[in-house]
Amino acid sequence: MANTATVDELGHAPEVRGKNYLNQTAGVWSWLTTVDHKRIGIMYLVSVLVGFGLGGIFALLVRLELLTAKKTIMDATQYNQAFTLHGAAMVFLFIIPSIPASLGNFFLPLMIGAKDVAFPKLNLLSLYLFWIGAIFMLAAIVTGGVDTGWTFYVPYASGVSTTSVISATFGVFVMGFSSILTGLNFIVTLHKLRAPGMSWYRMPLFLWSLYATSIIQVLATPVLGITLLLLIFERAFHIGIFDPTLGGDPVLFQHFFWFYSHPAVYIMILPGMGVATEILSTHSKRRVFGYKAIAFSSVAIALVSFLVWGHHMFVSGQSELSSAIFSFLTFFVAIPSGVKMFNWLGTLWGGSIRFTVPMLYGIAFLFLFAIGGLTGLFLGTLSVDLHLHDTYFVVAHFHYVMMGSTAIAFFGGLHHWWPKMTGKMYDEKLARVGFALTFIGFNWTFFTQFILGTRGMPRRYYNYLDQFQPLHAFSTYGSWVLGTGFLITFICLARSLKTGAPAPANPWDSTTLEWQTASPPITENFEKAPIVTLDAYERPAEETA
């Protein structure tokens, strides 16, 4: 269990120790002014879960509308708003900040044996920026909604739409700075605050994935910032850059947008991959197979992700040569992803696999990411994408990677680290029920959409041909199962806060550093600054013997 010199003094149950980061100080104000990365992480966690709930409600509404081929509960304009708000809330309020800002904030310093991130006040500032951006986005909902799709394509978003595009995009703009500052903070923290003995190759792989994510956050997000700023000016003052009637170029917007948003899909997935690595290794009691391969494939994915944005524009009038090059480079991304996949399987191979709740999520991740990633290759193939572009196949693809992989990894991580964060255990049985319904409901809802897509059902339509109705209805029933699954998971976690048994310091018998301090940790993280003598997944000699 031990890989630091200080463990034994720290493995007490919380009631023995008394103070921890949760009860150190009390009151709302002490939370709003805290610079403790753990509290900031918790506030992010609550915020992104609210964002997830909001996006989830819109999702259920969208699915409900699609139950029948004609109007079910809303008209066409309301439908456009519902899917836009679903997408925008899920992408910007949930999935981009989800793992890095909540679990990352909480665990990055703990895992390297630091007391905090490098710039604690900046960390708090990025939380506030996130909230301010979110308020602008919510303001858009009450002041006319948004109906442009989460991609805000021009000229519709810059001229035609009569909804609150400016408020929503300004919100995203502000949230972008929050994301940049978090990334910057993480990079500096990893460079400067690793505990003595914690070399780069001793870091848990979750941190390598956060490092790669941070690089993308820092390098790609400013481009989104300037793009949205131009869009706002275009809409407010008709500056003409994206407006074809004034000589501007709407396709330039798509280039700018995807130059951010393709790397952004790796902001979403890389942390999920990192969480999965921790879970798979801990709950099979195996050292990660191919440590360096996983570490470097994260960085490789981050770098290559900047070169493939054109695969979203195969039918936007891009030249055939550029399309062919983008298609080729898209296949290239699959290599580091494949490397990870085989290393995860190699980690499980011969391990003593325990089907704990986090492990169930971890295995589901492997399964769903395989489907999501492989269907990405279908879409990266030029001739196939000409047919599948803007169909439900794309919708299914990105739900398998965003929801099936990232969100599943996020919930797996939440269950994995819940005892550490809250000091409470949860009801395993109930959590399993929640997981099972989520997993079944997810595949039920979205695998159906692959079939819909290959049969030609276009995305973002509110009425559709009768022949698609049975499959659409089937997918909608799945969404109810999925929704129930999440509801149960939330109930399970909420109940654990009240009635959960106290968590031991290291309930999963993990080797990484965050488990070597009490659950929940004290404000300073460790009672004595840790000195690291072993690799992240290495067990001390007497245990392995």
Binding site: P120, V188, K192, L219, P222
Partner: protein, 226 residues
């Protein structure tokens, strides 16, 4: 930083100003300075990417509407732009000197140099104000607002869209820079900096050099080659 600071200051932590303390999560002051500096450099990278989008748009539209760009750029005032270039380069120079004098414990000189930098920045904005009001008066405005009549080529509005976006965002950076310079100027007057602790001066300096650098690209691209 450590070796250099040690050499300059001669003494160790004792030379740190009384207001300064090492934040609890850093092992020593030097780590904290290094982290701060690294953070600022990363921030500057994001700034370059932010402007990068605009430079990219400039390149694309320039090749698309070459005659318009050439025609439109004759309407920019090279003299005013030139003066502003000199003003900004001077301010960068005084800023660099201010960092150096802060390192050498010359507090009074630092204040003076920062004040000159601040004055240059203000001068830059004054010139910019005259330029902008000229353009507005002549109807040389972005896209749909463009009203100037006697143009032979098709899309000068795009040129002015890029001109106003780039110089506007740059101008905002100048204003923020002035705030930052004022902040370190006041702290300097309170004697907070010394040869052992001058990180804020240095970091604001780095930011200011970037603001200058962006202009050094903007000026020839917009005013000289069009």
């Amino acid at each position: 930083m450590s070796a250099k600071a040690e050499a300059l200051g001669g003494a160790g932590e004792s030379k740190l100003s009384p207001q300064f303390h090492v934040a609890h999560h850093f092992d020593k002051a030097d780590t904290q300075f290094d982290a701060g500096r690294m953070g600022v450099w990363l921030f500057l990278v994001t700034e370059i990417l932010l402007f990068g989008g605009l430079f990219c748009a400039f390149a694309i539209f320039r090749s698309k509407y070459f005659p318009s760009f050439v025609e439109a750029h004759h309407h920019l005032d090279r003299v005013m732009g030139g003066i502003n270039t000199i003003v900004l380069i001077t301010s960068s120079f005084t800023m660099a000197l201010a960092v150096r004098s802060a390192q050498k414990n010359e507090t009074k000189k630092t204040t003076l140099l920062l004040a000159i930098t601040l004055a240059c920045a203000a001068g830059f904005l004054v010139v910019k104000y005259f330029e902008y009001s000229h353009k507005i008066h002549d109807g040389l405005l972005p896209g749909g607002n463009f009203t100037a009549a006697d143009f032979a080529s098709g899309h000068p509005g795009i040129f002015f869209a890029i001109y106003f976006m780039m110089t506007g965002i740059h101008g905002v950076h100048v204003v923020i820079g002035m705030g930052l310079i004022l902040w370190i100027l006041l702290r300097n007057q309170k004697n907070e900096f010394s040869s052992r602790y001058y990180a804020p001066v240095e970091n604001v300096g780095l930011y200011w050099h970037l603001v200058d650098l962006v202009w050094i690209f903007l000026f020839p691209l917009l005013y000289l080659v069009g």
